[in-house]
Amino acid sequence: MKPDFLEEIYEIPGGENIKDCIQCGTCSGSCPAAPNMEHTPRQIIAMIRAGMRDEALASNTMWMCASCYMCQSRCPSQIKITDIMYALKRVALAEGKAQPKASYMAQVFVDNINTYGRNDERMLIFNYYLKTNPGKFLSYAPIGMSMISKGLLSMGAPERIKNIDQIRKIVAYVEKDGTA
Amino acid sequence: MASFEPRIVAFLCNWCSYTGADLAGTSRKKYNANVVAIRVMCSGRVDPEFVFRAFEKGADGVLICGCHPGDCHYIDGNHKTAGRYPMVRNMLEQFGIDPKRFRLEWVSASEGDRYAQVVNETIETVRALGPLEWPKRLNESDTASPA
């Protein structure tokens, strides 16, 4: 149990009013993905307050979040729940506790940006399924073919933005003092 | 040197802002100890003389708080205070005192938090302006060269 886990989340921009939660369940009742979550969003907030750090970080809840902000817009205590889900993903990734495949997608997405400055959908899909489920990639073939025939997927190499060095400088600057 | 601790005199009206200040107490809202309040029955009672007297005796800032327009226990005492306020500001400027040292705010009986916030803001504003020490510098202009 790590009682200061609550403080950790409390410090994050957007996490400031997590202490106001009255456990009413509106967030879970509003969440379209809640039926597939190991813990409902409300339970995750209860676990944070209970200091159940590892259990919360190991849960698949935040990786199921589609960022639709319905919970955040209805919360009677005005808690920025979606921002807290992001925070949990970041901490889980940083501590290598994120087990579900969803975390790979975020990682591939970020790598694409840091490398090319933009996200080429082909690279995103290819790299993601390469890491998680190569067989699945083949099942996309029919949709892929029709997209290519409709000119929605070019065959060229992924483009890189002109000033990619600016992206690298930004990443270097922010990463230097290790801020999450 | 240790950061300058301004001395501020506040005039609070009995029905709204003094009750609001008391509420800040009962809700344990913390604010810096630089402000000491004087209770008057209505903000209308605050004679401009009091403001000049406070500065003359060494205050670095003066705060007047009254009821929000429409809430005054005496119908419109606060409107009359608001009427006098620009005149007092102009006179302070003519005396060479930065008008930002003098502030008028409406605080209701249920706004404990707001009172604490107004007090802290006023202290920081005056702290930034530095000590006034008007008695010593009666002729030298304050706005020209803040300490």
Binding site: T40 | T26, A33, D47, Y74, R84
Partner: protein
């Protein structure tokens, strides 16, 4: 005036002051101040031993000034003023230093708090030296009382006052008294019929010789002071002569304008242009709705006058109504509340989905004389009629607009209980109907309330702990076809659930009544953050306000149930009766007065007085102040260019002394 001999008494207030402020140091500091001949400290100054200590010190050390450094003057100034009087020292030769609310409770750093405490004590000591003897003036107290609001709290207050043989004016802005309670079908937890227990009191109030009910009227102005208020009442034009009208109801049947939305019935049915709000209305006198009466609008019709044997219909009444000023000694405000309009909470579907009702709408549906004569039925293509189909399942949704920072942060106290009542009523009206009750915390704190909750558990109501997130009227799964779907997290099980129902009742919370803010400004009362009226002290003075002679009772002060509203009505009445029985009121002596030798007759002060208390003596060309009219605000004193005007107790010299005390050795 003999040389000031000041006694300073510094209070620990248990740990409230003593734990932050070094009280002994402050007492020691006080001994070094000019004019201070005695300084002492005590754990509780306001206790009997504490007051005893002051009285002894006054005698022993011939003190002619007293400073008590403890809590806020708004808290115990009267207490210590009386203590001084008892020791033969005029109560106004006394000043308080507010060390608790404005020093110890708001300062973290102990050293800074102690320093500030010393400054505050020094200011009080320097001020009290310039205090002069003052005496309160006693004024006769008019033995009549104004009660604003004819709901259950106002009726109780009026009846208690009337039974003490004093005159009561009960002003109610609706055509009938009864307030919100009159709209209820049953009451919790006893399931008494609301009308059965309320109507007798309404009739008793209306017929009581000491009570004048001013129905369809509003208070538009209040002037004067405690014991001597003048209230201006606006009687809205009802176009019916109440003396002549016998309440036979003939006009109600014959009026051709039939389709006016009936606000009292939550617009679930229509009323006519001439109407009484409900069958047992008291006074049972109809009023004509000028916005819908064709006679008043176009001068055509006049049927109600034709059928009225008593000849009570008066189309020629002045549309702006009439005004009446009454003299009263006290005012009891019992203006009640309004329920939250859930339309902005789009997720719950009110207004979008026909069978989503507010609490009051459902209350009227259950009521025998309501829109469906007591049948709990669904609307048939959007219209509520008796013949509607009974619901197979009903959802009761708690905390709608309450405990929600997007709308009202406060808990409205009564919704859990009335939702339980609805659960029972549904089981009674529609046998076999499924009832789901969605709550966050079941708050049943009153007498017999928890037992009532247990009763509903036994009546197979399905209680689900979780706030309803949304109500939809389109189906995803087959069993939801044609029904409403409630989506919620069953937090005790930890899963989200979709529950098909046929009707939803929203437990809408309680808010300040329509026009509450305007009335507060008319009566110069403060409101708390949530907009309800501010009591003088939440625990020790819940029914009085900062203004002497003005009391509050019932939901206008904060949401509460009927027992508490009735208790507060009686409590407010008791305090008014005490003042009437005394027959006199003490008027604070802190009024303004003229130093004639300094007055140049410039008349700057005259227009400043909101109470016209200042006039000009033409021969001597001087300002003259009428003490009875002066309420002691000091605005004129603050404006007088030659300091000819002074205020007893807030004299320029005294305030200068206080300023100097604060800034000494600045």
């Amino acid at each position: 005036m003999s040389k000031p001999r000041v006694g300073v008494f510094v209070c620990h207030c248990g740990s409230n002051i003593g734990s932050i402020v070094d009280v002994p140091a402050v007492a020691a500091f006080a001994t070094g101040l000019d004019n201070v001949v005695y300084a002492q400290e005590h754990k509780y100054m306001c206790s009997d031993p504490g007051q005893e200590m002051i009285r002894d010190a006054i005698k022993e050390h011939q003190l002619n000034r007293v400073v008590v450094a403890s809590c806020s003057p708004l808290m115990h100034e009267p207490t210590f003023r009386k203590t001084c009087d008892e020791a033969g020292l005029n109560g106004y030769l006394f000043q308080m230093a507010n060390l608790r609310e404005q020093v110890s409770w708001v300062t973290e750093d102990k050293a800074a708090a102690t320093e500030k405490a010393k400054v505050v004590v020094r200011a009080a000591v320097q001020r009290v030296a310039d205090h002069t003897e003052l005496h309160t003036t006693t004024k006769p107290c008019t033995p009549a009382t104004l009660v604003i609001g004819g709901g259950v709290a106002g009726i109780e207050a009026a009846l208690q006052l009337a039974s003490s043989d004093t005159k009561v004016h009960l002003v109610e802005r609706e055509p009938s008294i009864g307030g919100a309670m009159a709209k209820f079908d049953k009451t919790f937890p006893t399931l008494d019929c609301a009308a059965c227990i309320l109507t007798p009191k309404m009739v008793q109030a209306y017929t009581h010789p000491n009570i004048t009910v001013h129905a369809y009227s509003e208070v538009v102005d209040l002037s004067g002071y405690v014991g001597n208020f003048q209230a201006k009442i606006h009687h809205k034009a009802s176009y019916v002569n109440n003396e002549k009208c016998t309440g036979c109801g003939a006009c109600l049947q014959k009026c051709p304008v039939k389709r006016v939305p009936h606000e009292w019935e939550q617009n679930l049915m229509n009323r006519r242009a001439i109407y009484t709000p409900f069958a047992q209305a008291v006074p049972n006198k109809p009023v004509i709705d000028a916005q819908h009466c064709t006679m008043l609008l176009k001068g055509k019709c006049g049927i109600c006058a034709k059928v009225c044997e008593a000849g009570a219909i008066e189309y020629d009444q002045a549309p702006e109504g009439t005004y009446e000023t009454i003299d009263i000694g006290n005012v009891i405000v019992a203006t009640g509340m309004k329920t939250f309009d859930p339309t902005p909470m789009k997720a719950l579907g009110y207004g979008r989905i026909p069978d989503v009702y507010t609490a009051l709408e459902f209350e009227r549906m259950c009521h025998a004389s309501g829109p469906t004569e007591g049948h709990v039925v669904k609307k048939t293509n959007g219209v509520l009629t008796h013949g509607g189909a009974a619901p197979k399942a009903v959802a009761l949704v708690h905390c709608v607009g309450s405990r929600d920072k997007n709308y009202n942060e406060h808990c409205s106290r009564v919704c859990c209980m009335y939702s339980l009542k609805y659960a029972h009523l549904i089981k009674e009206h529609v046998p076999g109907c499924e009832v789901y009750d969605f709550y966050i915390d079941m708050r049943c704190a009153g007498k017999g309330y928890e037992e009532f909750y247990n009763r509903l558990l036994r009546e197979d109501v399905r209680f689900i702990r979780g706030k309803v997130a949304e109500v939809n009227n389109w189906a995803i799964y087959p069993e939801e076809e044609g029904r409403l779907v409630v989506r919620v997290e069953d937090t005790l099980v930890g899963t989200t659930r979709r529950i098909p129902v046929d009707m939803v009742v929203l437990a809408t919370g309680l808010e300040p009544a329509e026009g509450a803010k305007a009335l507060a400004q008319t009566l110069h009362m403060s409101c708390s953050n949530d907009g309800f009226y501010l009591e003088r002290h939440p625990k020790l003075a819940p029914v009085s306000t900062a203004t002497e002679g003005i009391f509050v009772a019932g939901c206008c002060q904060s949401p509460k149930d009927i027992p508490d509203s009735v208790a507060q009505g009686a409590a407010a009445a008791a305090q008014a009766i005490a003042m009437i029985k005394r027959g006199t009121v003490e008027i604070e002596p802190t009024t303004a007065h003229v130093l004639e030798e300094l007055c140049s007759g410039c008349q700057i002060c005259i227009p400043l007085c909101p109470y016209d208390a200042i006039s000009r003596d033409e021969e001597r060309r001087l300002a003259v102040i009428e003490p009875a009219k002066c309420k002691g605000c000091g605005t004129c004193v603050g404006a007088c260019p030659s300091s000819a005007l002074q205020q007893w107790g807030f004299d320029d010299k005294q305030i200068y002394a206080e300023i100097d005390g604060i800034l000494a050795n600045a």
